[in-house]
């Protein structure tokens, strides 16, 4: 038996396309909402939904925000 077999199996949830709220995106990336709003204003990321309250971000937006944050463009 492999030692890995003894570990519990974690079942996660898949983040579906356009399912992250502004708050979830901010928490996931550890950034401020106003900075994310400025990225949207510059069309660097494009959420679904017109009003800020109903914005939904995709996994691709998450990757992009983290990339920009990692290279220090803030």
């Amino acid at each position: 038996m492999n030692s890995h077999d003894l570990l519990p199996v974690h079942t996660g949830t898949v983040i579906e396309e356009d399912s992250l709220t502004l708050e979830q995106l901010c928490h996931a990336c550890g950034v401020h909402a106003d900075w994310v709003v400025s990225l949207v204003e510059e069309s660097i990321i494009e959420p679904e939904g017109k009003e800020i309250q109903v914005w939904r971000f995709s996994g691709a937006c998450l990757v992009r925000v983290r990339m920009i944050e990692n290279i220090g463009c803030r």
Binding site: G12, H27, A33
Partner: protein, 315 residues
């Protein structure tokens, strides 16, 4: 505790745009800055202004503040209604400027007292949820086709009690859901950074990437296979056996197929509510002219077929 009308403090209506808020702050900050202002109570007004701006410039804090309603009068005795902040998770979400310690009881009651971090990065105060952590994992196409369990190793830099950074390794068995696509994320609740002061841990977000496959390419939910065919199979049509991740299938090649033609097997891509398709891209392979017989056949074709593939080039 007294209610504070942040819009009134900034001389704005409740419908002010984020730009108007920014402009009003700049104007009033110049007016009340204690170093330059000749106004009475400049320092108190400057602090009040900083606090109002801290809330109104942040769309989440502003939305939550707006939810308190507009019937409150400045200075009125105030208690936040129960569950007033339901659906907003910004506590400790960071203070990007100003002296957080100078904010009023009203502000603290609503938004908590989180630490101020000079970079402006969200900082967690007491009793707060841990940071979400991220990792990219590589899986095989077959893991997504059938669903599987994978063991992954994660290295996480952590600060020890002495303040030194140490890399902590851990191993996790995770379930790969059937039909997951490259670029999608799996969220594992509670597997992220530790919370502070008894706060819940953050989540672990795993970004999915696929290992390159010797036969197939994946694009979104579609799978592509480059299929070598002979010139006569392409020209005359044929029924040939084609590998797919779920086993071999018989595929009919239509007559007069061209190099690069795409044939679609509907619904045989990545599984899911909207399953992807499987595309076969024809690659016409030429038999080598390495025997007298083969050369004779090519010469016959040369003589018998009126064929100039460079006609579109005008030569």
């Amino acid at each position: 505790m007294q209610y504070k009308d942040y819009y009134k403090i900034m001389g704005l209506s409740r419908t002010a745009s984020q730009d108007e808020i920014k402009r009003a702050y700049r104007k009033l900050a110049r007016k009340y800055h204690p170093d330059v202002s000749k106004e009475k109570d400049a320092e108190a007004k400057f602090k009040e202004l900083g606090e109002a701006y801290e809330v109104l410039k942040d769309p989440q804090k502003r939305a939550a503040y707006d939810r308190l309603g507009s019937n409150w009068k400045a200075g009125e005795d105030f208690r936040p209604p129960p569950n007033w902040d339901e659906g907003f998770e910004f506590k400790g979400g960071g203070f990007s400027g100003g002296d957080a310690g100078a904010f009023s009881d009203f502000f603290e009651q609503l938004f908590g007292r989180a630490g101020f971090h000079p970079s402006g990065r969200a900082q967690h105060g007491s009793h707060l949820r841990g940071q979400d952590s991220h990792a990219k994992i590589y899986i095989d196409l077959e893991d997504s086709i059938r669903g599987s369990t994978r063991n992954i190793s994660l290295s996480t830099p952590e600060m020890d009690a002495q303040g030194y950074v140490k890399v902590k390794h851990r191993s996790l068995n995770i379930k790969i859901p059937k039909g997951i696509k490259p670029g999608q994320h799996i969220r594992l609740s509670g597997q992220g950074g530790l919370g502070s002061g008894g706060g819940k841990p953050g989540d672990l977000l795993l970004e999915i990437a696929f290992n390159s496959h010797p036969l197939y390419r994946v694009s979104e939910t579609d799978i592509y296979l480059d299929l070598p065919v002979t010139p006569w199979e392409a020209a005359l049509g044929a029924k040939i056996e084609v590998p797919t991740p779920e086993g071999n299938v018989d595929l009919k090649i239509p007559a007069n197929s061209r190099q690069g033609s795409k044939l679609r097997l509907k619904g045989r891509g990545l599984p899911g509510k909207m399953p992807g398709d499987f595309f076969v891209v024809l690659q016409i392979a030429l038999p080598p002219a390495n025997t007298e017989r083969a050369k004779a056949i090519y010469r016959t074709m040369q003589q018998e077929l009126d064929f100039n593939p460079r006609l579109p080039l005008g030569v």
